[in-house]
Amino acid sequence: MAFTPEEYNKMSQKASPNSKSYKNIPMAFLIGGLVCALGQGLMILYQNAGLEKDTASTAVSVSLVFLSVLLTGLNVYDNIAKVAGAGTLVPITGFANAMASPALEFKSEGFILGLGAKMFIIAGPVIVYGISASILYGLIIYLFRLY
């Protein structure tokens, strides 16, 4: 049984079934699209209620975040995500779920080091690299007077 890791890698790839992309990608499209369409529906609703475009957009985000956290708490979000994949990961609802789920999970280790600290274990990188990228962008436009 003298296999090199490369040979074994080939063997195990052959033995491992691939993801069912023919199902996953359409489902991600469908459910992700529905989440965004829901957002657009809310957007129209809020604008009709008299909100400015930017304010309405923020209100949509907050509403979707609320809905996502609620569904996470009701143990529903993970079941939708099992089918939707990136369809529930990529929208802002995925970001909210990534914060709410560790908060729920690690409450058992206390409010400070459990709930409070671990809330960011999945979503933290998004904030770190998103904000950092925006700061780099800001530096560039500041230095080259592009604003």
């Binding site: 992309s21 909210a96 925006s134 700061i135």
Partner: protein, 122 residues
């Protein structure tokens, strides 16, 4: 019909952004967390060079709801803050623009965790 068109646009563009994410999940070894980081950073870049705002004009929530929209919002915030406050705006712009979303996620998560309990999967 007037309502239907923007909904359809949001559905198609938002769905497409998600489908691309799924392609990354299925065909690369990128973990979901990495894909999200890529989306946000990509959003900052596309927002910064002015492409993403055009997608938002077309698709509305179809572009703002995915995390690329979050990135684009960061870029927009920085741009406005730099114009208003100069160098300090470089640091404040991103957080200011994303404050509502992050604030809501933090506070609702806290509330959610106080009320609910995780359950076994089936």
């Amino acid at each position: 019909m007037e309502i239907f068109i923007p909904l359809l646009k949001a559905f198609l563009v938002g769905g497409a952004l998600c489908a691309i994410g799924q392609v990354f999940i299925d065909y690369t070894s990128l973990t979901p967390a990495r894909i999200l980081v890529c989306y946000v950073v990509l959003g900052v870049i596309l927002g910064g060079i002015g492409i993403y705002p055009m997608i938002i004009d077309f698709a509305g929530a179809g572009a703002t709801v995915p995390l690329t929209g979050f990135g684009s919002l960061l870029a927009k915030g920085v741009k406005e803050a730099v114009a208003k406050d100069g160098l300090l705006g470089v640091l404040t712009g991103g957080f200011t623009a994303s404050a509502a979303g992050i604030g809501a996620a933090v506070f609702f998560s806290l509330l959610g965790a106080l009320i609910f309990k995780p359950k076994d999967k089936s």
